[in-house]
């Protein structure tokens, strides 16, 4: 599964994207974030305000309880400030 990061999340994680092999126990977006936070300080820092971070699965906004089955690309980013 491809993970992509934008804006302050990208800066904190220290990369724009990465391929990860998820443990089979990770079924939802919230579980994925929990798992990422165990992978190092940079992830802990990036997701410290977990409730604020927005998630998109295959280009569609989703909630933390969304399931990951079939997802190709999961994106993490702060609230949008375009327009």
């Amino acid at each position: 599964m491809k993970l992509v990061y934008f804006a302050c999340v990208r800066e904190r994680v220290g990369k724009t994207d990465e391929e990860v092999a998820l443990p089979e126990t990770i079924e939802t977006v919230a579980q994925l974030i929990g798992w990422l936070k165990t992978r190092g300080e940079e992830y802990e820092y990036a997701f410290e305000k977990e409730g604020v971070i927005r998630v998109a699965v295959d280009h569609v906004h989703v909630r933390p309880e969304a399931r990951l089955a079939g997802a190709r690309e999961v994106a993490f980013f702060p609230p949008m400030t375009g327009g």
């Binding site: 934008f6 998109a56 609230p79 400030t81 375009g82 327009g83």
Partner: protein, 151 residues
């Protein structure tokens, strides 16, 4: 119904986009054009840097445009959002809506802008005039409230 969506780093020509939606037609009664510009915040800013999520930006704006078409009897809509470095006085975003009557054109344009602000994957970073890289622009509660009124 004509929908045009473009995500680009280049400047756009708002007048040409409005003309494209009305040229050769005699059924359009109302054209609303919204242009969002980069401000210098009282001289503090040298530029804004706009980061975006390619692919999702187009997809998300297309979803918002489809929703506008479903809600209002608009004849055409054009949405252009720039990315990259944009200096004060330059345009960032354009929304043009056309309709038979003004209310639909106004409401659709406001709806599109409210949703672009809160749903389209773009992020603004400030570059300060003293040369320092400034901070990411914070999302505003007022933008969330503006978007919430359409629910």
């Amino acid at each position: 119904m004509t929908t045009t969506i473009r995500i680009q780093s280049e400047p756009f020509d708002a007048a040409a986009e409005a003309t494209a939606l009305t040229a050769g037609r005699t059924d359009v009664g109302a054209v609303v054009t919204f242009t969002g510009l980069c401000r210098d915040e009282g001289g503090r800013l040298a530029a804004l840097e706009l980061e975006h999520y390619p692919g999702m930006a187009e997809a998300e704006i297309a979803r918002v445009a489809a929703e506008a078409e479903r809600r209002w009897p608009i004849l055409g809509q054009t949405i252009i959002h720039r990315f990259g470095r944009i200096t004060p006085g330059e345009s960032i975003v354009l929304v043009v809506t056309t309709s038979v009557h003004r209310q639909a054109a106004f409401e659709a344009a406001e709806f599109l802008m409210d949703y672009l602000k809160t749903q389209a994957p773009f992020w603004k970073r400030e570059h300060l005039r003293d040369g320092a890289a400034g901070s990411w622009v914070e999302a505003k509660d007022t933008d969330d409230a503006a978007a919430a009124r359409w629910r």
